[in-house]
């Protein structure tokens, strides 16, 4: 049976969609195989020892307990250190900077490009084959940024900025998830990573700088009106519509995202309506109140308008 999230792409570490993941996975595989071989070896030695009555030998202890570990561990340490170097690499001062701030339970994303600060939320768009520096911060508790198919994780700690250099090497969508227990809806705090070729990435940045799409149909216009008059603007910003809301995710491109609620539900009118009407049931502990006093048509209108913001 297919998944409601199957359009999000992989979330496995056994992937090579990024330099971090690709260079680590060979380490994973080789260490796993070697570990199983060592386990089998130890059990065979134990079996042999069980059946033998000739007495133990000191060289077993020295060989198996000191020499063999020292050799294999030294090899492992060197392999890990070289892999670590190749992943973290040299600092890339020219690399684009994306500042990601984690909140309970969503992700604020700001692309710094050519002197502009372009804000988005919950979806991180990356250029293909270009190193990007992520500046990871937190607004409240400790979170962790992990997109397994692309890179290893880095914690987001209030009061600190942790930098993670990430280079995506495959186009497509990948799913990431918060990897540090952060409260009630920690299991519901995920995100998307969308890797685009460099030209499309530039086009994406341009779209962030522009106003959001106009409302076209009467229903969308009604939805925009409801958005402006129901208090949504206190927390949410939409370019060209309301600029001041910074407490919640930026909604300028919400309809273009593949997911709603930080990587958890498909982006469509149905989920949008359910979210607005009762976000407390879908994501307990979320800061957003449930808007269950909108009329039916108004609720549908807001959902339709938000879905149109592509």
């Amino acid at each position: 049976m297919g998944s409601t999230l199957d359009q999000f792409g992989s979330q496995t570490t056994f992937a090579d969609a990024g330099i971090g993941a690709a260079r680590t996975v060979w380490l994973t595989n080789s260490m796993s195989i070697i570990s199983l071989v060592i386990l089998a070896f130890v059990m065979l030695v134990a079996l042999f020892a069980w059946r033998s009555t000739g007495g133990g030998r000191v060289w077993w202890i020295i060989g198996g307990g000191i020499v063999f570990p020292l050799i294999t561990l030294s090899v492992l340490t060197v392999a890990s250190a070289t892999t670590l170097r190749s992943i973290t690499g040299e600092a890339q001062p020219e690399a684009p900077v994306i500042e990601i701030t984690a909140y309970q339970y969503w992700w604020d994303v700001v692309h710094h490009s050519e002197g502009r600060s372009l804000r988005d939320a919950n979806e991180i768009v990356l250029p293909l084959n270009m190193a990007v520096t992520l500046q990871l911060k937190s607004n409240d508790v400790i979170h962790s940024f992990w997109v397994p198919s692309v890179s290893g994780k880095m914690d987001m700690i209030p009061g600190r900025i942790n930098e993670l250099t990430i280079t995506a090497t495959k186009e497509g969508r990948f799913r990431g998830q918060c990897a540090e227990f952060c409260g009630l809806s920690h299991p519901l705090m995920a995100f998307e990573v969308l890797v685009l070729p460099v030209e499309e990435y530039a086009a994406y940045l341009e779209s962030l700088d522009e106003d959001a799409r106009d409302a076209v149909t009467p229903q969308q216009r009604r939805g925009k009106e409801v958005f402006l008059t129901s208090g949504c603007t206190a927390c949410h910003a939409v370019n060209g519509v309301s600029e001041n809301g910074r407490l919640g995710p930026d909604l300028s491109r919400v309809g273009a995202r593949a997911s709603l609620g930080a990587g958890m539900w498909r982006m469509n009118k149905g989920n949008l309506a359910g979210w607005i009407a009762d976000v407390g049931d879908m994501k307990p502990g979320a800061q957003m109140p449930s808007y269950n006093d909108l009329s039916g048509p108004d609720l549908r209108a807001v959902a339709a308008w938000l879905e149109s913001l592509k």
Partner: protein
């Protein structure tokens, strides 16, 4: 320990280890399978269908017994309940409705759809029959202009699948 005992002990140990390895491998293959690629599950379904076919003669009713008209009236032409369950999840119905058997469908914005089969009305405005249900799923706002349920752009084929799933939800 006699030779016979020793041999049967050895045999037993070999058998235990071998069967352990085989079972572990089978379980491992199954567990490591990715969604949509379920040879073991497919085999189980085939075996079940086969068995059901073999024993249908035990359960078959004689031809001339009148069929229950309620049974007929809740059949949706061209509808596959399994596909319907997936579509219900994909269209996002679960964020407003509780729908038994659909993952993460526990919304309390709209009515609970448990036991939907036995309801008299749909949305309080239409009678609960296949044709009306398919219409409703495709265009709820036409039948109830003040409803909060959006027009989700459901195609007729998808609506048929979803309706047939909903008709499997019997009240307890």
């Amino acid at each position: 320990m006699s030779d016979r005992d020793r041999n049967s002990g050895l045999l037993g140990t070999v058998f235990a280890i071998l069967s352990g390895v085989i079972v572990s491998l089978a379980v491992g293959v199954w567990a490591l399978g990715t969604p949509g690629n379920d040879p073991v599950g497919a085999a189980a379904v085939t075996a079940g269908t086969f068995m059901e076919g073999k024993f249908r003669w035990l359960r078959a009713e004689p031809e001339n017994v009148p069929q229950d008209w309620v049974e007929i009236s809740k059949t949706v032409r061209g509808g596959d309940p399994q596909r319907g369950a997936t579509l219900i999840a994909q269209y996002g119905c679960g964020s407003c409705h509780v729908v038994p058997g659909v993952a993460r469908a526990h919304g309390t914005v709209g009515p609970d759809l448990s036991g939907f089969r036995d309801r008299a009305y749909i949305g309080g405005v239409l009678s609960n029959e296949p044709g009306d249900l398919v219409d409703w799923l495709m265009n709820p706002t036409t039948h109830a202009p003040d409803t909060a349920m959006p027009d989700l752009g459901v195609t007729e084929t998808d609506a048929r699948h979803m309706a047939s799933y909903l008709y499997t939800l019997r009240g307890s």
